[in-house]
Symmetry: C2
Subunit: 335 residues, 2 copies
């Protein structure tokens, strides 16, 4: 488990590509109260509409860490960004990174951190207790987002549901399982970086015993239908013991993203596969709704996709970004 020093100064290097800055946008959109400012290198075209601050100015305003809000192609830290990280350490900030390369593997960064006493926090290499799952039922209620593929809205759906629950006065926590989610919530476990033997054990720790009416809304990862990542998905599913699953789907995607030989399953196939696996660790687990990612569809196409999903599954369907979630909450209240 990781707890991150906030607020952040969000750093976007010299990026010119919004897709590579998705971590920065995700944190700004979902944790604006944790984002005190933005900082970049000359040439950067990303504007998060946050106050522009140098590390020294940010430190003076109470900022705790520099967040590297970029995923450059390859996931490595570009060499010409190292000076900026060193400058932030010298200004008294910690560094938060979700890149694959550990921050401490750069000699200049390691030396600057040793001198300043700043923490180097690599989210993908985070701390968690390495223990195997127990399969023992925990108190409180849990919702897990699951999906027919990667990268189709499991995190945004979980965040939207958490926000709707909190707005309705419910006792609810978002539980992050990936790097951007962790940066948004300030804590969590990068579940895909866990040694396979311990994945359901870490998932169990992520949503511990809670008050009976408390909801943990757990960010799903991967897909049971994904030829590379299904193991991550199943370990998270077994350890989460969800009372409710929301099935996330992309109505116009036909193939698993990046795996052309693999068709997306139908919603029916997804329901049939998830239920017996989920019920192994929680016999009362059920799929309560379908969340569609209808980004780019107009109103008529969105309505048609929602209607088709509802008709196929017999479940309520919605786009969590476009639609009101109070019907879902009413349904969850009956569980």
């Amino acid at each position: 488990m990781i707890a991150l020093p906030r607020p952040y100064l969000v750093f976007t290097g010299d990026l010119r590509n919004e897709v590579n800055a998705k971590t920065a946008y995700g944190v700004r959109d979902w944790a604006p109260e944790s984002c005190a400012g933005q900082w970049s290198l000359p040439g950067c075209t990303i504007d998060l509409a946050l106050p522009v601050l140098t590390p020294a100015e940010a430190r003076a305003k109470g900022v705790k860490s520099l967040l590297i809000g970029a995923a450059p192609p390859g996931g490595a830290l570009p060499a010409h960004w190292i000076g900026a990280v060193v400058e932030a350490l010298e200004a008294g900030l910690d560094i938060v990174s979700g890149l694959h390369t550990p921050l401490g593997s750069f000699a200049e960064i390691a030396a600057a951190a040793a001198k300043s006493g700043g923490q180097l926090i690599d989210i993908r290499h985070g701390q968690y207790e390495r223990r195997v799952g127990t399969g023992i039922k925990r108190s409180g209620k849990r919702l897990l987002t699951v999906g027919t593929d990667c990268a189709l809205g499991k995190k945004y759906t979980a965040l939207s549901i958490t926000r709707a629950m909190q707005a309705a006065g419910w006792d609810a926590s978002f539980r992050a399982t990936g790097q951007t989610g962790i940066m948004i919530s300030g804590e969590g476990a990068a579940i895909d970086a866990v040694v396979a033997d311990f994945i359901s054990g870490v998932a169990e720790q992520l949503s511990p015993d809670a008050a009976p009416a408390h909801w943990d809304v757990i960010e799903g990862q991967g897909s049971l239908f994904h030829p590379a990542y299904a193991a991550v998905t199943l370990g998270l599913l077994h350890g989460s013991q969800p009372d409710a699953m929301v099935l996330c789907h992309h109505p116009t995607r036909e193939r698993i993203n990046g795996f052309e030989g693999y068709r997306l399953p139908t919603l029916t196939q997804a329901m049939e596969l998830h239920l017996p696996l989920a019920r192994r660790t929680n016999p009362d687990s059920r799929i309560v709704a379908v969340a569609l990612n209808t980004k780019g569809l107009d109103e008529a196409a969105t309505a048609a996709a929602i209607a088709a999903a509802g008709s196929e599954t017999g479940l309520p369907a919605f786009d969590p970004i476009k639609h009101d979630l109070s019907p879902l909450l009413a349904q969850l209240e009956t569980l």
Copy 2:
């Protein structure tokens, strides 16, 4: 992937408990040609019926490594065994260990290895290429043992089938996925120690493209029904892309070993869950037989268990340790 220096001098410390020496027995039973001798400390009651050799004598006879054939409770190396490991290094041997504690974390062992140039090979911390699965079909044929629980015969079944294939003149390889299996075959990947994101990618590397008639017989791990280890099982299943699965079962075990809240599934339930998951990466995957662990059952009880399994599943059933496997081979020849 790991390739181990053999033959071994099998070391059993001062063990007095046969269960804790199961690695030593497994290696002796399944790779006798790799076991040149045994060595122990005063007080040990384990006798593998191998020549008793000191490390220096073993080295003179061409032994390449000391194999720590013991799993003491807790999986740690007892402090009073360190001197023996150092003696083996000084005699010119490498060290092979499947314990959780890395050999190099003991200062005396690290120093002795640095001085002798001996390798410290920790199987659970083995090398493999960290890459995600591709889901792309590979040439050659693959059989994977799967099961209703851990520790009921998946390794022994895979080894028995490999041996039967080789005895029949087939081109077949045993593919080890756990520490004892690796020590037996001399290579493999400890799949439960792989970072979750890479588990199917490592499983793909473990049974690479092969000649069309070649069989890889892959040691299964865990169970899809296991509340702690199902993720390991699914990643191995997806990456293995088995043409044939042999379903291993214990006819009298009622509960998942060590998880009292979890019943063993029926064979029917196991078939229903394995097939759709296996067919995701190999649409032609099928369960070809049931392998029962009937150790401790008399002849009549064994026959009754075999008949019940065959009747429930409609598949051939056998105990791979007690029965002739030529009917299975005849069946596999038709795939």
